[in-house]
Amino acid sequence: MEDDVFKQFREHSVAEFFKKNRQMLGFSGKVRSLTMIVHEFVTNGLDACEEAGILPELAVAIEELGKDHYRVTISDNGPGIPKSHLGKALGQMLAGTKFHRYIQQRGQQGIGAAACTMFSYITTGQSTKAITSHNGKKLTATISMDFKKNKPIIEVTGEEETEEHGLTVVSEYKDVRYERSNYGIFEYLRRTALANPHCSISLIEPNNEKTVFPRSIEVNPKRPFEIKPHPLGIKPHDLLEFTKHAVENKRISSFLQHTFARVSAAKVEELKGMLPEIDFNKRPDKMTWEEAEAIVGAIEKLKWIAPATDSLVPIGKEQVEASFRNIFNPEVLVITQRSPKVYRGGIPFSVEVGIAYGGGVAAANKRGEVMRFANKVPLLFDAGGCAITETIKTIDWKRYNIRNFDEEPIAVLVNVVSVHVPYTSAGKQALASEEDLMNEIKFAVMEASRGIQRFISGKKKANEIATKKKVVSRYIEQLSNDLASLTKRKPERIAKELREIIEEKYVDAKKEEIKPPEKPKENEGEKDE
């Protein structure tokens, strides 16, 4: 009996598990499921292009085949996938190499594309079709998977020579729905374009309407690079996980030094001093849970040099500005970029905030819009439980001349980049309420808000000046006529001169209207508290 249960349990492959718990991958709700599917392929496409140094061009097409039944076609101009990797990429869960990399990445822990293949198969019984052009070869294949074994099943249907590169994935889904709501694909792509100004995205909706979110920057962003994790922020489980990959290190002491940043021989000696009961000379893969827990506990008691933070690549001030202008064309735009900080003492992150006000924001009928991003990926769902939303709620907008945030033409973009984004769940749609993170978000939003405040008060002033100008310009004609009849001067000449005087007097006022926000100062936010 006992054996049976155990056997069954073992036969539950990862794929099988997720098949039964698909909401854990984000496949819950019809609209959300469809958005998640597009999200998987779009992030993969973007990553692939960037890695290959190609300016991304993505094309998404959604066809309605029946009630809650759609065909999704997504193409990128990336390097394509070689035949040998096709199965892993599209037909095997957790096959990615990204999982244990300490690098800022969009990724969904490699579940992504395979989960879609699975989702497609279990809702429609259809295989996913992939057309990949890689290294001069264009390959057409259908992919499905053996859930029990978490193994891809690939059937190549065509192979030809090509000069192109890229990947097109065609798959069908049921139990999903297309909607142009805040949770829909349109919004997802719009925000993706906003955070990724170097990419061009087109969308064909089920009603055949085509939208292009054009590229606003012609350069790929700097690539983030992998760093060693900092000892602070490591949990016992992580530590044990790392030991499995540390086959070249024979001892715990050398393993710690090689695996983590800022761990010097001197630091290991300190740890040894604190933990006399642990043998630092034993093989790292022999480390027990208790030992891992003790080491993590000791690490937390020590003082550490903060991790290097230059591995982070935010969207960038100019980039956010360009894409904001491109997509919103707001009346005023303030971008704040905070310098990288760490949370939990060891995980580098950085917050950037863009606030757009008026103009196109008003025209698009956006009021109090909060756009959340993590590593440039838009977060559309679970806003209520997200640290970004929570933090924005604590901002006293009235202080920034914004009377009612929810009713004003204001759009706030918050992008948190980190080598390890603290998501609340596997759905990866909300950030956990890490205090360091929330503080940084708050300071960044406040900093940008000050720029908006300056603009709004400047605008009020400019309005006043415009009104004044209007008042004094109002009587030019009458005054000129009367002065003319008192002096024999031509009224037109008097009027012209008066107009010039008024223009000159009120022209400076216009320049005062918008001042660029001052250079952000470190710790400025704290002073504001």
Binding site: V471, Y475, Q478, L479, L483, S485, T487, E497
Partner: protein, 365 residues
């Protein structure tokens, strides 16, 4: 002040502003403040006048743009009146300027006469001219009878008017006694000003001015600018001016306006004041002297009391002990006597009363 001077001053005003505009500045208009705080009593001359506080109005000021434009509009319009040799009342001027500023501006140049009235006064002060010089007339109210002839140039004609031959109605004093009007001949010993038309008619019927060889004037209440200006001119001819008013603060204040000018029109200053005029009655003290008056007193009204209190506070009045005494009596007894009461016992008594007062020099000054 002649009409041609007025014309020059208007043109000067315009030229000054155009000069400012040529220099790239917003045009300004300087005028003397006509506030109570800038009203002073000129002891040397014995009249009220405005002080030296100036006010500069700027066209480029939001608060002043409209009134600035309106002031210049009045200047331009009155220049036109002068050029055409036409006169109109300040109400006529208001209607001349009550027009829309244009289709795109939902606004009239003037909407109420109260707007233009004040601006006319501003122009008078700024240019140091009288509105009459700008061909703006005021309503006539005063009448005169006596041995005086007037040469009146009007409507292209010249007429000699004999003020001794105006019968029961008398000569109506025009609003402008300076332009187009001269005193042709004058044969009178003094001027008698009585507050009310009823009394003027009484004295006219009694041939008082003939017997006394005086000029009999009634302003019919508060004096118009024309009447005050004429009295000034007559005083300049060395005629004594005697005033007979109701025995209440209102009547007395009519006298004081003739004497020192009013605070409202303090800017007119000495051209409109007759400091040498004398007040012969009716006084509170008369009640004692003429016993019949005691029964003819009536209760003073609240406005009389209030005016009496105000007058007690005016430094140019409360420096006169006899006036303070009279005012105190009003405040104490709360009584008043109308000048008509002098006819109470005998219709013709009033003539005797006046003669007695002048003869015995029983007057307040």
């Amino acid at each position: 002040m002649s009409e041609s001077t007025a014309m020059k001053k208007l043109e000067e005003l315009g030229r000054g502003m155009v000069k400012q505009i040529d220099a790239g500045e917003g045009p300004t208009f300087e005028t003397t403040l006509r506030t109570k705080s800038n009203t002073l009593y000129d002891e040397g001359y014995g009249c009220l006048r405005t002080g030296d506080k100036k006010e500069t109005r700027k066209y480029l000021s939001v608060a002043q743009a409209r009134t600035f434009m309106q002031t210049v509009a009045i200047a331009a319009k009155t220049k036109q009146f002068l050029a055409q040799n036409l006169h109109t009342s300040i109400r006529g001027l208001f209607y001349q300027l009550k027009f829309s500023l244009g289709e795109n501006l939902d606004e009239d140049l003037f909407t109420e006469q109260s707007e233009s009235n004040g601006l006319i006064e501003d122009l008078e002060v700024a240019l140091k001219i009288k509105r009459e010089d700008l061909h703006l007339t005021t309503d006539r109210k005063g009448f005169l009878a006596g041995n005086m002839k007037i040469r009146d140039k009007f409507g292209g004609e010249e007429t000699i008017i004999d003020l001794a031959k105006q019968g029961r109605s008398g000569w109506s004093i025009p609003s402008d006694v300076d332009n187009g009007m001269e005193i042709e001949s004058l044969d009178a010993d003094y001027v008698l000003v009585v507050e009310k038309d009823a009394l003027w008619q009484r004295l006219n019927e009694d041939k008082f001015w003939k017997e006394e060889n005086c000029l009999l004037v009634t302003p019919k209440g508060q004096s118009t600018r024309g009447t005050r200006r004429l009295l000034r001119k007559l005083a300049d001819k060395k005629l004594p001016v005697y005033c007979l008013m109701d025995c209440d603060a209102w009547g007395w204040y009519i006298y004081w306006t003739i004497k020192t000018g009013s605070m409202n029109l303090a800017y007119l200053g000495r051209d409109f004041a007759v400091p040498e005029s004398r007040f012969i009655g009716v006084t509170m003290s008369d009640i004692k002297e003429f016993s019949f008056l005691d029964k003819l007193t009536i209760k003073a009204k609240d406005v009389d009391i209030k005016r009496a209190e105000e007058m007690m506070g005016y430094p140019w009045i409360n420096r006169h002990k006899d006036w303070v005494r009279e005012l105190k009596l009003v405040l104490k007894t709360k009584k008043k006597i109308e000048q008509d009461a002098l006819q109470g016992q005998k219709l013709t008594f009033v003539g005797e009363y006046i003669k007695q007062k002048i003869e015995n020099k029983e007057w307040l000054s």
